[in-house]
Symmetry: C2
Subunit: 109 residues, 2 copies
DNA sequence: CCGCTTGCTACTGTTTGGGTAGCATATCGC
DNA sequence: GCGATATGCTACCCAAACAGTAGCAAGCGG
């Protein structure tokens, strides 16, 4: 399942530095996007699929498993998936990206 | 070459919202890591390869092309690659991740 | 010329992801 | 009970992405 934990060496880093593990985990397809799509609360498996334009359930389930094992997301109540407290902090650390992306759009238009 | 520009619809988003294009671009393997590895200045092609534990030149060149086309990195002087001004701002928007990753490591140990 | 570094491409396999179908469970109305 | 619907999820097979290795052309120092 290609576990990703901050203590384990990440793909491309034998040091085990947490930031490398994180960049590895978030650098997998749809991982960043999934965290982003959960910003407004819990979503069901199928809702996540639709928001990511029908990504295959295989990959969705794999990413969900990895992110759950990393403690970033968890099962929602009574259904679906949601960010954990840690996941919410990660999302907060990610929000500067939105501002940057908007400036980027203005500059390159 | 799978161009990524903020105006173009990203994989999985027909809206063309810049954040989606960015999450798509940075969600490709090694992309986040490459931006990170350039944080302390220009690096040669082969230096980047080593820092990412020998990722294949095929992929490295593809990521570099994509990131260059997106205006995030550029050719260094006289050799190598470096972050552009925009790229440096992106890196700045990414730095909160390091703090999060360190807390993450402490919590899950 | 020789040796070294530069960025980069070609080739061949393995890994990852995409696309579709379908299952088992639960919940609702009836 | 019954069907209808929604849930999370798995199996299967094929395409795309990536890894691993070799090697090339250009530039520079000697």
């Amino acid at each position: 399942m290609a576990r990703v934990r901050p203590g384990l060496p990440a793909r491309g880093s034998k040091s085990g530095r947490p930031i490398m593990a994180l960049l590895d985990l978030l650098g997998r397809r749809w991982a960043l996007r999934l965290v982003w799509e959960l910003r407004e609360g819990s979503q069901t498996f199928r809702a996540l699929q639709e928001r990511c334009s029908g990504l295959s359930p295989t990959v969705l389930n794999r990413r969900l498993s990895e992110l759950r094992e990393a403690g970033i997301i968890a099962r929602g109540e009574p259904t679906g998936y949601a960010l954990t407290a840690e996941g919410s902090e990660l999302l907060a650390a990610l929000t500067p990206l939105r501002g940057w992306a908007e400036r980027w759009a203005r500059r390159s238009s």
